[in-house]
Symmetry: C2
Subunit: 368 residues, 2 copies
C-alpha cells in the first residue's frame, strides 16, 4: 500500500478542527460515516488518514491527509476527484498542496518539450525568452497577421493568440492560422529572426482535435490551450495524443478555484503536460502576490526525475520598462509575455520599434 499527502487550509475555530479534519479524510476517500465502514480492507487501506494538523493563525489550520494511491487508479480525472472532489465545494477549505503519486506522472507524462525544448525552438541557449500576444479580439485576420509580422521582425520568440481568440466570425481559426503562419515565414527571412506563432486552441474535444490538425498542417510548432477551461483530463489527452511535435503553452483562463495557484498552475499544469505556464505576474493588474508568483515559478522549474521543467511565463499588464525587475526576480529560465503595453505604441514602424526595445531589454537582462 502506498499513500500520498494532500494539504488543505481550513478556516475554523480551534475546538472544531479535529472533527473537520476527520470529516475531510472521510469525504475525500469513502464518503460515508466511519461507522458504515465495516470492511477491514477498506478501513485499513482505503479510508483517508489525518496525518497532521497545524495552526496557521487563530482561525486557519493546515491539515495533512493521506490518501491511498490505489484510489486514484492512476487516472488524470480520478486523481483530481480524490484531491478535491466534494471538498472543493466547502467555502472554508482551500487545497494548498499535494504530493502527486508517481502513477499520475507515469500516466500523464509531463512536458514533452519543457524549458530545453522551448529554447531549441527559439534558438536561444541561455537568455530569457520573449512572448507577445495578438489582440484585441475583433481585429480581422489580416490585421492580426500584420501584428504578428511586426512582433516577429521585432525579434519576439513566441507570438501567441490572445486567449480570447476562438473561431469567431471576425477572425475564423483556420484562416487566422494560415495568415499568421505566413507572416512568420516572411519575417523569418530577416536575419536572426526565428519566431513561433502560437495559435489558441479552444472548444470541445472534437474541435480541439480539428484545430490541432489544422495547426500542424500549417507548420505550427507551438500551441496554447487553457487546461482549466477545457478540463485538465482533456488537456492531458490532447498533449499526449493529438499535439505531437508541437510545444504547449498553458493559459490560466477559468482557473479560479479555491486551490493554491502554485499547485494548480505550477504542479498540476506541468504534470498534465504544459511546456510553459502563463500566469498573472504580481506587477500587473492581477491579485497574485510576489510570494505566489515565486512559488508558481519554483513548481514549474523544480528538478524532479522523469519530469521536464516547465517554463514560467509571467504576464498580465506587464510594461516594457520593468523587464529588468522581472529578470532579476526570475533569472533567465523565464519567458516574458507582454501584451497591451506594446500595442499602446501604435501600429506599423512605431510598433516594430517598441517591440525591438522590449526584445533588446529581454536579451540584455533588462539593462536598457
Amino acid at each position: 500500500m502506498s499513500w500520498f499527502r494532500v494539504r488543505y487550509r481550513v478556516r475554523a475555530a480551534a475546538h472544531e478542527i479535529e472533527a473537520i479534519a476527520a470529516a475531510i479524510a472521510l469525504e475525500q476517500s469513502v464518503e460515508v460515516p466511519r461507522a458504515a465502514v465495516r470492511d477491514a480492507f477498506i478501513a485499513e487501506q482505503i479510508v483517508g488518514r489525518v496525518d497532521a494538523i497545524r495552526a496557521v493563525d487563530e482561525s486557519h489550520f493546515d491539515i495533512d491527509i493521506l490518501l491511498a494511491t490505489e484510489t486514484t487508479a492512476g487516472d488524470p480525472a480520478q486523481t483530481l476527484n480524490m484531491l478535491f472532489g466534494n471538498t472543493s465545494m466547502h467555502e472554508h477549505v482551500q487545497l494548498i498542496d499535494a504530493e502527486l503519486p508517481d502513477e499520475l506522472l507515469a500516466r500523464c507524462g509531463g512536458p514533452r518539450f519543457g524549458i530545453e525544448g522551448l529554447r531549441e525552438l527559439a534558438g536561444a541557449k541561455d537568455r530569457a525568452l520573449s512572448c507577445a500576444a495578438l489582440k484585441p479580439q475583433g481585429l480581422s485576420n489580416t490585421a492580426l497577421a500584420d501584428l504578428c509580422y511586426r512582433f516577429a521582425i521585432g525579434g519576439v520568440d513566441f507570438i501567441k493568440d490572445d486567449h480570447g481568440l476562438a473561431n469567431q466570425n471576425y477572425s475564423p481559426f483556420a484562416e487566422r492560422v494560415h495568415l499568421c503562419q505566413q507572416a512568420i515565414s516572411l519575417a523569418a527571412q530577416h536575419e536572426g529572426v526565428r519566431p513561433c506563432y502560437v495559435p489558441n486552441l479552444i472548444g470541445t474535444p472534437a474541435t480541439l482535435i480539428e484545430q490541432a490538425h489544422i495547426a500542424r498542417e500549417e507548420g505550427v510548432r507551438a500551441v496554447m490551450l487553457a487546461p482549466s477551461l477545457i478540463g485538465l483530463p482533456t488537456f492531458n489527452e490532447m498533449v499526449a495524443q493529438h499535439l505531437r511535435g508541437m510545444a504547449v503553452l498553458a493559459h490560466p483562463s477559468f482557473s479560479g478555484m479555491r486551490m493554491a495557484p502554485a499547485l494548480l498552475l505550477g504542479k498540476l499544469f506541468r504534470i498534465y503536460g504544459a511546456d510553459a505556464v502563463i500566469y498573472p505576474h504580481y506587477m500587473g493588474r492581477f491579485a497574485y502576490s510576489q510570494a505566489q508568483c515565486a512559488h508558481i515559478a519554483d513548481e514549474c522549474r523544480r528538478p524532479q526525475p522523469g519530469l521536464r521543467a516547465a517554463m514560467p511565463v509571467p504576464a498580465g499588464g506587464m510594461v516594457v520598462e520593468r523587464v529588468g525587475e522581472l529578470l532579476q526576480f526570475y533569472g533567465t529560465d523565464v519567458m516574458l509575455l507582454i501584451g497591451g503595453s506594446l500595442l499602446l505604441a501604435g501600429e506599423g514602424e512605431a510598433l516594430t520599434e517598441r517591440t525591438r526595445a522590449f526584445v533588446k531589454n529581454v536579451h540584455g537582462g533588462g539593462e536598457l
Copy 2:
C-alpha cells in the same frame, strides 16, 4: 449586434468600484488598455460595457457587464472563457449570474431527457424520485452489485455509483457495470420494481467514450459524469455525441470555483446537457445555504422555451427521517439521493428494510 449580461460580485471600496467595473469590462472582452483600442468596430461592438453598478453592502458591489454575443462564437468553451476567463483569478470577484446567449443553447442543446424523461425511465408520473449510492469505494464489484440488488428490491428508482468509483483495481469499471446491471435485471423481476443502475464515467475523453460504449452494451439507461472535473465542454460533447439513449446525472465534484452554485450547477450544467443535477443539500454536511439550494433547484426547473427542465437532486449527508422536510421544501419534481445513512443500517435484509422505509417515505410525501 446582440449583447448578453454577466453579473459579478466584487469586494471593493466604494471609491474604486467604477474603475474596477471598467477594468473587468476590458479584461473579459478585449484584454488591452482602452487606449490601445483604435478600431471603431472593436470599440463599438466588441469592448464590454459596464451596464450597472449596485451596492450590496458597504464592501460589496454587483456589476453588470454587457458582452458581445459574437465574441462567444457560440462555442461551449469560448463562452466560459468570455464569462469568467482571467477574471476568475481575482480573489475579490465572484461570477454570480449570466444571461446565456441563445447561440449557446442552440449549440449545447440542454437536457435530452429532463424531468419528464427521467420520470418515464422510472415509471413514476407525479411522485418524487429516489436515488441511492453504491459505496464506500474499496468494496469488491460483487459487494457493490449486492448493494445494488438490495437498493433495487427496496424500490429505489436510480442506483448510482459513488463518484469515487473509477476504474480501480479493487472494482474495475467493466466488470462492475456488468454485475450491477445483472443485479438490476434480477431485481426487476420483483413486482413494481423498475430500477436504473447509473455507473460513474470518469477519465479523459477517450476513456469516457470507451466507458459509455461499455455501459450502452450492458443495457445501462442512465450514467453519471462530473462536468467540472472533466471540463464542461467535454461534458457537453459527451452528452451530444456519445451518450445517446442514456440519461445523464451531473455530479458537482471539483466545482469549487468563485462562481455562484446556482449559475454553475443550475444554469450551466443544465444548458450543457445534464438531465439531473446533484448538489449538496443544506441539511447535510456541506456549506450551501437554504437560499442557495432553492436557487439551484429554481434554475434547474425554470421554464424556458427550447430547454427541458433538469431534475434537482439534493444530496450529501441526508437521512431517512428528514425526507418529509425535503419534499415540503422542493415539491415532487425532485430526486432525493441518500447515501451513507442507508448503509448505517447494516447489510442484507436490514438494509433492504431501511431502503423500503426510505422509498415509502419518498412515495408517501414524507408522511411516514
